[in-house]
Amino acid sequence: AQSVAQPEDQVNVAEGNPLTVKCTYSVSGNPYLFWYVQYPNRGLQFLLKYITGDNLVKGSYGFEAEFNKSQTSFHLKKPSALVSDSALYFCAVRVPRGFKTIFGAGTRLFVKA
């Protein structure tokens, strides 16, 4: 069965420190991978995606993610966290030519000033 795992319910980091939010997936083939962010009582905002090519992808607000095919991971990273990065982050996968996007359960990021 296709699935996405975000092993950490919550990640705490001090402002200015690097952050990592982890994501692993179990999907056959070569899926498309996405990260979204959700602020309270809001919809999801797209951050970045991996379709093909360079394993390190850069996205909005200074975020980047590293695709690792052998480990089936797509971890979200940022070199220097901001308090305003505090939000709920979702990893998602979609099978090429498929219709359904599968989301992880989400990781809440707290950045302390």
Partner: protein, 114 residues
């Protein structure tokens, strides 16, 4: 560009009632997907529409149905509401003709069933 718009933003219904939620996709997008996000969980795929037909359905009962109109807007209908249907319902649109395109989400409709 208004992006994806959903209406209403909040809704309170009684068990057993029926509800209709509406979504207008981002300009240029022809595909609409609906998701249910229960409190503290990730969005769960309900179904996707393009060319006015349901293309794939997630693990949701037939009480959940939808429709897409010629202008690509969409409705989600839920019949015989249960308390467990209380959730944030998200609509997402994307352009089918762009490989790997990300979905754009609306702000959601918060449905409370009492």
């Amino acid at each position: 560009d208004a992006g994806v718009t959903q209406s209403p933003t909040h809704l309170i219904k009684t068990r057993g009632q029926q509800v209709t939620l509406r979504c207008s996709p981002k300009s240029g997008h022809d595909t609409v997907s609906w998701y249910q996000q229960a409190l503290g969980q990730g969005p769960q795929f309900i179904f996707q529409y393009y060319e006015e037909e349901e293309r794939q359905r997630g693990n949701f009962p037939d009480r959940f149905s939808g429709h897409q109109f010629p202008n690509y807007s969409s409705e989600l209908n839920v019949n015989a509401l249960l308390l467990g249907d209380s959730a944030l319902y998200l609509c997402a649109s994307s352009p089918r003709y762009i490989t790997g395109a990300e979905a754009f989400f609306g702000q959601g409709t918060r449905l409370t069933v009492v």
